[in-house]
Symmetry: C2
Subunit: 306 residues, 2 copies
């Protein structure tokens, strides 16, 4: 395949940008990949492992002459980065991002984007609980969705090109508006994360059950929560602060339902519990059929001997 | 290895009993395995796949001359089964169970156990989201904990023998009292399950986000919740009804913490969120070091094309 973009600038060199670099190289999608990160340590590691063709020290240098600029920093840092790079952007270039929240990113970034430069927000629904420049791998986006959030003024050709890039990295692409994106993600990702963090925190706090008991007996259930709750703290802080409205809405519904089930437990209403648990089984079936997970029993995963 | 028990009776032929049968056969731990289940369909499947040496139609027949009787039915059914088998138990036999709750099982089963028969409750912390006679496999208990709940009158020799069986099936065995077991499990398993069920139910209810969107975009987070929420509804109904006290206590703490984080989101207190999320990361590390999960990034699991 001939490169989709001649020069790509990656700003922020964590799991997502790192994986993009691997995926773009694998399929020869970029003529040249330039990377930068705020921390000198991150830049040094990226240099050491050869993550990009070139590692530079400043955002301004990174975007110089770039055809695609990927903002891969925590959501709360996007506005400042946009302001910094704005004067250095090449006319005709496309700026995109990979943030987990879209409305707040559009509000923070769009005002800085100069006339003649395209801004097309995106969000690859992919990740692991690991972070940092060493955590990326080329397969991360394979068969994962990438949600692109254009608006009515988005240039069709620039949108096609960005869509091509994500598809060539293995993603399935869908477009939706920013507000709907944030609601969907509040349900499928943000609220579940907050809940997992909370449950792990409760376990840690409980005096009558020791941490070592919690850890030893983390059978199915809690163990999967800890996996979620091990995700990058900075990223998630920014997600909740910037998708406040939708997260609080879903949290409100969640506690309402939880109280209803709690009441069923207290009053011994077995039928209500049984009906509820039966209904949720069907959703799982749908996810397997949609190819987003396998049917292999996972709780029995073979672990190494302690 | 020479058999630990000459004749083992499995009452209920779901995931756990089925896996026990496979595991006992693999290591030649039982002279003969007799199985029974309430539903004729389950018995027919067990017969068809040769799950036990003998499948019988009634609990009374199953326990006849058995040295070990395993109650592997939902927690709510344990008492009735115990009453039914009591007159048919051989003196010196051991009755055990595999229920996820221990205090309620002891209360329901112990009064029926005749003098001269040992009752030693147990709980293997192992499972998958699948159920039924076809779902078992010999490796299910490998490197998983089995909690045995003796009391001050438990016969030491009978306890040793049951411990040997679980260890020979691959488990690590620990003993604790019934009340503490129920609290530990409320934290590490029962409450996480209820929360996962609730979150999946909320997603399903939400009118503005379609089920197909929820299913398609079930990135890390929600996807793991659906796996948990696909577990057997009857089993879980009984767990919550019979571990009411501890579950409600942990749920109370959970909602308290959740409200504190919700408030931090509403007021924009990023430091509180960051600190909380940083703390929960450490617990994950402990679980990996304890060998209960691997460090391999899981969210990026390669899924089949839709």
């Amino acid at each position: 395949m001939s490169p989709i973009y001649d020069r790509v600038a990656l700003i922020g060199l964590g799991l997502i940008a790192g994986s993009m670099s691997h995926a773009m190289r694998r399929a020869d999608l970029a003529g040249e990949i330039v990377g930068t990160a705020r921390s000198p340590e991150t830049r040094a590691i990226a240099e050491e492992i050869g993550l990009c063709d070139q590692i530079v020290a400043t955002n301004a240098e990174a975007v110089e002459d770039a055809d695609l600029i990927v903002l891969a920093v925590p959501v709360g840092a996007m506005g400042a980065v946009a302001a910094e790079i704005a004067p250095h952007l090449k006319p005709g270039a496309t700026v995109t991002d990979v943030g987990s929240v879209k409305k707040a990113v559009v509000e923070a970034v769009a005002p800085h984007i100069p006339e003649g430069v395209h801004f097309i927000p995106a969000h690859p629904l992919a990740g692991t609980e690991h972070s940092g420049p060493r955590s990326g791998f080329a397969e991360l986006f394979e068969n994962r969705w990438c949600l692109i959030v254009p608006d009515e003024n988005t240039d069709a050709q620039a949108l096609d090109r960005l869509t091509c890039l994500w598809e060539a990295m293995g993603s399935n692409v869908e477009t939706m508006d920013a507000e709907h994106h944030d609601l969907v993600l509040a349900v499928t990702s943000h609220t579940p994360h907050l809940i997992a963090y909370t449950m792990v925190g409760v376990a840690d706090d409980l005096r009558r059950v020791t941490d070592s008991e919690v850890i030893k007996f983390s059978a199915a259930g809690f163990r999967d929560f800890t996996r979620i709750a091990a995700s990058d703290p900075t990223m998630w802080r920014d997600v909740f602060l910037s998708n406040k409205e939708a997260t609080l809405e879903i949290l409100g519904r969640f506690t309402e339902e939880l109280f209803a089930l709690q009441r069923a437990i207290r009053t011994g209403d077995g039928d209500q519990l049984f009906d509820y648990f039966t209904r949720t089984r069907a959703i799982r079936r749908g996810i397997i059929e949609a190819g987003q997970d396998t049917d292999a029993p996972d709780f029995g995963r073979v672990a190494k001997k302690p």
